[in-house]
C-alpha cells in the first residue's frame, strides 16, 4: 500500500500535495490543521478511525460490492406474490432513463431560474396526480404512503381542532404504528370490518363517530385488497359529524376504479411507488397527498407548493409559494416539519403517468383485475384452500386461507421458496383472527403461467407429507 501522502483521490481533485501547498500559501498558513485549530483538543478524534477500506480502485470496489449484493435474489429471478405496501409493478424503460439523467439525479433545491426544468417536472407531477385524483391541490410527494396518511390526519386535526381519528380495523400494522408515532396526541379508534366483505361496518362507524372525530380515514382498496363500495355513505356519515373524510388510494387502480373525489373524499393520500418506481427493497416508496382547493386545506399542507407564474413574456415559471406554512420559512411556527422527501420519485411518477395516459391506466388496471381474479379462482379451487372476503370484489391483492390444509403459511412459503416463488405475505401474526392466511398480490407483471405454476406448486406442497422439514437450504 502506498503511503498516504502520495494518494491522489479521484473524488478529491485538490488532494494533490502541490495544489494544496499553493492554496495554503495563498491563504497564508502552513498546514491544513491550522485552519481547524478552533476545534478544542478534547473534542477531537483520538487516532485514526477504525473502518474498512480504502478500496480506491473502481475495479475492486465493484468486485467487492457486487460480491455482496449477488447474494440477494431479485423478483426477476423469483416469481413474486408479495405486496402489502410495496409492489412489483412494471417500470417502463423511459422512467429509468429519465430518473437516471445526471441532471435530475444530482439536482437539489435550486429554484425557478436555475432548475426551471425540475420545477416544471414537479408541477407536472402535481398536475397529473391532480387529474388522476380529480383534485385541485397536490403537495410534493412525501416520504411514503404512511407519512402521507399521517399528514392528512394532522391536517384534519388542524382544520377542526379535534383529536380522534377513526381508522378501519383491516389495516397494515405498520401504518397504524406510523400513525401512533406521528399523531401521538390523537386517539385512534378502529372501526370493525364486515366479516364477509372486509368492508367497513357502517353500524360500528356510526357508533363510534362523534363531534370529537377529526377525520374518518379509510383505504380503498383496503390492506387486504377489498374494494370499499360504501365510500359515499362513509363520506355522508363523516361529514354529518363535521369530520374530514380522508381516503388512501392505490394510484394504479384509478384507471378502472373511481377516484375518492367523486365519493366525497376531502383529503386523498396514498402510496406512490406503483407509478414507475422500482421497489428497491423498500427504497421506492413515496407519499401522495392532495386536497380540495380551499384555503383551510391549502394552508395546512406542510409540503412545498411549486406554483405556476407567467412573466411579461408569457413564459411559465414555477416557484415555491405560500412558504410561511413551511418549516423552512417559519421554523417551529410551521404547520408541521418539512424535510427533503422524494423529488426524484415525483418526477418519475410524472413520466409514468405521461407514458400511460388514460388508456394505459385503464389497461393496467384491467390487466390486474383479470389476472388477480384468475389467481383467486385457481387457488380457491385447491382442496383445503379458501379465499376470504369472497363477497367483495378485490383489486390486486386478496387473502388466501390455509386453515383446512393443516399447514402453516410459513411452511408453505418455505416450500415455495425452493421453487423460486415468493409466496403471499404471512398474515398469521398481525391478523390472528384470520388463522393461517396469506395476502397474495398479482400485478401486470405476473404472468398467467406464473399463477398456474403457483397453484400447481401449492397443490404439490399440500399433498406432500414432509414439508415441515427445517430451513430452506
Amino acid at each position: 500500500m502506498e503511503k498516504r501522502d502520495n494518494v491522489v483521490y479521484p473524488y478529491i481533485p485538490n488532494s494533490v500535495s502541490k495544489i494544496k501547498e499553493e492554496m495554503l500559501k495563498e491563504i497564508g498558513v502552513e498546514k491544513v490543521e491550522e485552519l481547524y485549530q478552533s476545534i478544542p483538543k478534547h473534542l477531537r478524534v483520538k487516532g485514526k478511525l477504525n473502518i474498512p477500506g480504502p478500496i480506491l480502485s473502481e475495479i475492486e470496489l465493484k468486485h467487492h460490492v457486487e460480491g455482496i449484493i449477488n447474494q440477494n435474489k431479485s423478483c426477476d429471478e423469483y416469481v413474486n406474490f408479495l405486496g402489502a405496501g410495496c409492489y412489483n409493478h412494471y417500470v417502463p424503460a423511459v422512467c429509468d432513463e429519465i430518473n437516471g439523467r445526471s441532471e435530475f439525479l444530482t439536482a437539489y433545491c435550486g429554484d425557478t431560474y436555475s432548475d426551471h426544468g425540475k420545477c416544471q417536472a414537479i408541477f407536472e407531477y402535481t398536475s397529473l396526480i391532480g387529474e388522476l385524483l380529480e383534485m385541485d391541490v397536490v403537495g410534493l410527494a412525501t416520504y411514503d404512503g404512511g407519512q402521507a396518511a399521517n399528514t392528512s390526519i394532522r391536517m384534519a386535526h388542524r382544520i377542526n381542532g379535534r383529536k380522534e381519528v377513526l381508522i378501519p380495523e383491516i389495516i397494515d400494522k405498520d401504518i397504524v404504528n406510523q400513525i401512533k408515532e406521528y399523531c401521538d396526541f390523537m386517539e385512534i379508534k378502529k372501526i370493525k370490518a364486515n366479516k364477509a366483505t372486509g368492508q367497513l361496518d357502517l353500524d360500528d362507524l356510526k357508533d363510534k363517530i362523534s363531534e370529537k372525530t377529526a377525520c374518518v380515514y379509510i383505504e380503498n382498496p383496503n390492506f387486504l385488497g377489498c374494494i370499499e363500495e360504501q365510500g359515499e355513505k362513509i363520506s355522508e356519515i363523516a361529514h354529518s359529524y363535521g369530520a374530514e373524510f380522508v381516503v388512501s388510494v392505490d394510484p394504479i387502480s384509478l384507471g378502472v376504479l373511481e377516484t375518492p373525489a367523486v365519493y366525497g373524499g376531502d383529503i386523498i393520500c396514498g402510496e406512490l411507488q406503483a407509478l414507475g418506481i422500482h421497489m428497491g427493497y423498500g427504497s421506492g416508496l413515496g407519499g401522495i397527498i392532495a386536497s380540495k382547493d380551499e384555503e383551510k386545506y391549502i394552508m395546512n399542507f406542510p409540503n412545498h407548493f411549486y406554483s405556476l407564474y407567467e412573466n411579461e413574456k408569457g413564459e411559465f415559471g414555477f416557484s415555491r409559494s405560500l412558504n410561511q406554512r413551511t418549516s423552512y420559512h417559519s421554523r417551529e411556527e410551521a404547520v408541521e416539519f418539512l424535510g427533503t422527501n422524494v423529488g426524484l420519485w415525483a418526477i418519475t411518477a410524472a413520466v409514468y403517468l405521461s407514458l400511460l395516459g388514460p388508456q394505459g391506466m385503464y389497461e393496467v388496471g384491467r390487466n390486474i383485475l383479470y389476472k388477480s381474479n384468475y389467481a383467486k379462482k385457481v387457488l380457491g379451487e385447491i382442496k383445503g384452500v379458501e379465499i376470504l372476503y369472497q363477497e367483495s370484489k378485490s383489486f390486486k391483492e386478496f387473502v388466501v386461507n390455509f386453515d383446512r390444509t393443516g399447514k402453516t403459511v410459513e411452511e408453505i412459503n418455505r416450500q415455495l421458496l425452493k421453487e423460486k416463488i415468493f409466496g403471499g405475505y404471512d398474515l398469521s401474526k398481525d391478523f390472528t383472527d384470520l388463522g393461517q392466511s396469506a395476502l397474495y398480490c398479482v400485478t401486470e407483471t405476473t404472468r398467467k403461467e406464473d399463477i398456474e405454476n403457483l397453484a400447481k406448486a401449492v397443490e404439490r406442497i399440500l399433498l406432500s407429507k414432509d414439508s415441515k422439514g427445517g430451513k430452506n437450504e
Binding site: E26, Y90, V94, S127, L128, E131, G255, L308, P358
Partner: protein, 505 residues
C-alpha cells in the same frame, strides 16, 4: 427549449406504452371487466392525462432535464449546508442492479443476505465514525431523523415518569429550522438561543434556558457560519445536569470526518444526512436517508425492525418492546445506505479525513479570495479567523453601495451557468446573506472560476447595476416580476386549476 406543459402536448389517441393484452381465456372466464368492479366503483370519467407517443414523452422530459442544473453539470458550490458533492457513477450501477432495484422488502431474509449485510456493516462503520453505539437508517431524510430523535427523547422521559414535566426543547436560532420544527411537531415547546458576536450562544444563555422542563437540546456544530462552537461540551454538560438529552444535527458533517465526533462531545443522539456528506445524490430533493445514531442507553428506543446478525445469518429483528415504533414502512431507503457504504469503504479512514481537510482548505481558500477581491462582501461574526467547511457571507455593503440585492445576484449567477445559491435559513440574522460550501469535490480551477464570477458580478453591481437587477438574461426563462403570492386563492399547483382560472376547456 421553450418546452410546453406536457398536457399542452397531448394529441388525442396517441399512447406511450402498451400493456399485455388479457388472454382470451380470462376474458371468457370473467366476461367484461366491469363484472370485476363494484358498479358504483367503476371510474366514470377517464382521467385527463396526456396522450403522447413514447418518444414524445421521452423528448419532453429530456428537455426538462437539460433545463436543470444538477451538481454533475455545474460547479455547485453555492448550496451551503447541502454539501453538493460528487456522487460516483459506479454507485448508480450498484443501486440499479436488479439484485437491489427488484427486491421486495418482505421477501425471505435468506434471499436478502447481501443487502442486510450492507446495512449491518454500514451501521458498524457509522458507529465508528460518530462514536455512537447504534444506528437506524429508517428515517427517510434528515427531517425525519430529527423528528425521530425528538420521539426518542419523549419516550425516554416518559419511561422515567417525566413525560409531562419535560416539555421544552432548546435549540439555537442558527440551527437548521428542522431542529425547531420537528420537536415542535412532536409536541415540544421550542426555545431558540441567539448567537453573540462570536457566532454561538453565550454559556449564560444556555444556563438560563435549561430547567426541569428541559427535555432536550438540539445543536448543530458548526452551524452554517462554519464557526465551531468550542463550548459545546460545556453546553451539553449543563443540559445533562438539568436532566435533558443532547442531540447533534450532523446533517452537514463534511468538515469533521476523522476530526471531531459526537461521542467526544458527550452527545446522546445525532443524525447524519447520507445524501450530503456521504455522497448519495440529492435526486431533485430525495429520496434520501437520515442516519440516526444513539448511545447504548437509548438503543432500545430506535424504530423497529433492526438488522441483526446471529453469527450465521443477518436478520430483521422485530422484537423491540421499547421501540418508538415506525417512522417509514420497511427499512428506510436502503439504496442510499448502499451508496454511502460504497463511498465510505472507497475512502477509508485516511480518505475521510482528507475529505474533511480538503473541504476546510477549499472553504478558506474561497473565503480568502472573495474577501480580498470581491468588493462589497463581508463575513460577520467570529474573530475574522478561519472557518470550517462553509461560511455565511453578507452582501449588505454591496446593497448599500449599489442597491443590488442578494436576490438580484442570485438570479445573475444563472447567467454564468451556476446553480442558484443558498442565502440563509430563516430568520435571516445576517443581512443579504450568501452561504457557499466548496466541498472536496471541486478543483482549484473550479474554485477560482467560482470566485471570479462573484468578483465579476460585484464589479457589475458597482458599474452597471441594472444588468444584475434584471437578470437572468441567459436562463431558461426571464425574470418573473411578481412571484410571491400571499393569497391561497392565487395558488396554481395543477394544470386543472390554471385552466379553470383562465377559463380554458
Amino acid at each position: 427549449w421553450q418546452e410546453p406543459i406536457i398536457l399542452e402536448l397531448s394529441e388525442e389517441g396517441q399512447r406511450g406504452i402498451v400493456f399485455p393484452d388479457v388472454e382470451e381465456e380470462l376474458k371468457d372466464l370473467f366476461g367484461e371487466v366491469d363484472n370485476l368492479i363494484p358498479s358504483n366503483m367503476k371510474r366514470k370519467k377517464k382521467p385527463d392525462l396526456p396522450e403522447l407517443g413514447q418518444q414524445q414523452v421521452l423528448r419532453h422530459y429530456l428537455r426538462l432535464s437539460q433545463e436543470t442544473l444538477g451538481q454533475d453539470l455545474t460547479i455547485d458550490i453555492g448550496l451551503g449546508t447541502c454539501t453538493m458533492k460528487y456522487s460516483p457513477k459506479i454507485h448508480e450501477q450498484f443501486v440499479r442492479n436488479p439484485k437491489i432495484a427488484k427486491m421486495h422488502p418482505l421477501q425471505d431474509i435468506d434471499t436478502a443476505q447481501g443487502i442486510l449485510k450492507i446495512m449491518y456493516d454500514f451501521e458498524q462503520i457509522m458507529k465508528e465514525i460518530s462514536g455512537m453505539d447504534a444506528f437506524s437508517f429508517q428515517p427517510g431524510g434528515g427531517g425525519m431523523a430529527i423528528y425521530s430523535n425528538a420521539s426518542i427523547i419523549k419516550k425516554y422521559h416518559e419511561d422515567r415518569g417525566e413525560g409531562d414535566q419535560r416539555t421544552e426543547v432548546i435549540t439555537t436560532v442558527l440551527s437548521h429550522p428542522l431542529n425547531a420544527a420537528a420537536p415542535k411537531t412532536k409536541g415540544f415547546k421550542v426555545i431558540n438561543l441567539m448567537p453573540t458576536e462570536s457566532g454561538y450562544p453565550d454559556i449564560e444563555d444556555v444556563k438560563a434556558a435549561v430547567s426541569e422542563k428541559t427535555a432536550g437540546f438540539f445543536i448543530t456544530n458548526p452551524e452554517d457560519t462554519g464557526i465551531f462552537n468550542p463550548l459545546v461540551k460545556e453546553f451539553i454538560d449543563i443540559v445533562h445536569q438539568a436532566g435533558g438529552l443532547c442531540v447533534y444535527d450532523m446533517a452537514d458533517y463534511n468538515g469533521l470526518f476523522g476530526i471531531a465526533r459526537a461521542k467526544e462531545a458527550g452527545i446522546d443522539l445525532c443524525h447524519f444526512n447520507l445524501h450530503k456528506a456521504f455522497s448519495s445524490p440529492h435526486g431533485s430533493m430525495g429520496p434520501c436517508c437520515g442516519a440516526q445514531g444513539v448511545t447504548k442507553e437509548l438503543e432500545k428506543y430506535l424504530p423497529y425492525p433492526r438488522v441483526d446478525f446471529d453469527g450465521e445469518k443477518y436478520y430483521l429483528n422485530y422484537d423491540r418492546p421499547h421501540s418508538i415504533g415506525k417512522l417509514r414502512k420497511f427499512y428506510g431507503v436502503v439504496a442510499v445506505v448502499l451508496r454511502a457504504y460504497a463511498w465510505t469503504i472507497t475512502m477509508g479512514a485516511d480518505g475521510l479525513k482528507e475529505v474533511a481537510e480538503t473541504s476546510i482548505l477549499n472553504n478558506n481558500y474561497l473565503m480568502h479570495r472573495l474577501l480580498k477581491e470581491a468588493k462589497g462582501i463581508s463575513v460577520p461574526w467570529g474573530d475574522g479567523g478561519h472557518r470550517l467547511e462553509q461560511v455565511r457571507y453578507s452582501f449588505e455593503k454591496l446593497r448599500e453601495d449599489t442597491g443590488v440585492t442578494i436576490d438580484d445576484i442570485d438570479r445573475r449567477v444563472v447567467d454564468y451557468g451556476l446553480q442558484t445559491f443558498f442565502q440563509s435559513h430563516h430568520p435571516m440574522l445576517i443581512p443579504q446573506p450568501f452561504t457557499p460550501e466548496p466541498n472536496e469535490s471541486y478543483s482549484k480551477r473550479e474554485l477560482d472560476e467560482y470566485a471570479d464570477i462573484f468578483v465579476k458580478i460585484s464589479e457589475e453591481a458597482y458599474e452597471n447595476p441594472e444588468i444584475v437587477k434584471t437578470a437572468p438574461h441567459n436562463g431558461p426563462i426571464s425574470k418573473i416580476e411578481d412571484e410571491i403570492i400571499v393569497d391561497p386563492k392565487d395558488l396554481i399547483v395543477t394544470w386543472r386549476v390554471y385552466k379553470r382560472k383562465k377559463g380554458l376547456k
